[in-house]
Symmetry: C2
Subunit: 149 residues, 2 copies
DNA sequence: GTATTTCTTGACAAAATTACTCGGAAAATA
DNA sequence: TATTTTCCGAGTAATTTTGTCAAGAAATAC
């Protein structure tokens, strides 16, 4: 699970779509100007999200983008996974492919695996709706929360 | 909290040190060969860890590196934070520095903040000892665990 | 149909970061 | 002194990220 500006732009853009009036269309340039992002770069990103059916693009005058479903059904992990490739998480497949190194097999393998699983779990619990509701921090909402025991 | 091969190499190398007999010294080249990493690159990384007093370097014949403290006292987050710079986590300070964009302030700010806090928390609970004990997955050990409620 | 708006697509280029190399110096041992 | 090892700074190659550009396609308004 990589995380670059690409992923952040994607979440930001979809947040804008989520904020728009239901079924109204938002143009790329609107988002780009508001958020001060390169509009041509944003094009690329929204295209990825469209091809994965997370958003719907409408061409022609007064066209634009809208979410394909309601904000509570779109999780942050969905967005990030689409625009950033899924992270390999291994960090041990050095060359021969196998994971059994000379030093008594790959000890850190599980660590990175578990970390990315953890991140995925975290971002999979937060929806666009949570974000526009400011419901990210100190989440005490009905859905599962991660907590120290 | 970035995560590149640099961070993974660092954890891997320190795992090797943790596996070594108490107070025995391990050479850079030993680790490099065993893990199939560039030894000169590994030098740089171990140097960083040494300058942060996580490990101790001994020069001269039969020199090498050893941990500066016992494996259970070294957390993965310590290691990663040293070799990768601390991640900015914001993703919203576009230009003017302030966080109040035109689109009704920075909605995703909290999200990335919370994510990196979460990662830090996770890696801060796992020590080198846990790794060499294979105690990463399905942790049910005495120390605090992250768990779904 | 024509013009306009906007998305769609692909190829390309600049910038930044990551990953690694190199040459040598300092310290310790023998 | 010679050898072995860490230490240190600078520089370079490779990759990834972050864009730009130009042209095409679809929908709408006129």
């Amino acid at each position: 699970m990589k995380l670059t500006t690409k992923g952040r732009y994607a979440v930001l853009a979809l947040t804008e779509l989520a904020l728009a009036k239901e079924n109204s269309l938002v143009k790329i340039t609107e988002i780009a100007v508001r958020q001060n992002i390169s509009s041509t770069y944003l094009e690329q990103i929204l295209l990825l999200l469209k091809n994965s059916d997370l958003i719907i693009g409408v061409r022609g005058p007064n066209g634009g983008y809208k979410l394909s479903t309601s904000p509570e059904n779109i999780m942050i992990s969905d967005i990030v996974n689409i625009v950033e490739g899924r992270m390999e998480a291994k960090g041990c497949v050095s060359k021969s492919g196998s994971c059994t190194g000379v030093s008594g097999r790959c000890l850190t393998h599980d660590l990175w695996d578990e970390l990315s699983r953890h991140i995925e779990l975290f971002l999979g619990q937060i929806s666009l709706k949570d974000i526009i509701a400011g419901n990210v921090l100190g989440r005490s909402s009905p859905p599962k929360v991660l907590e120290l025991k």
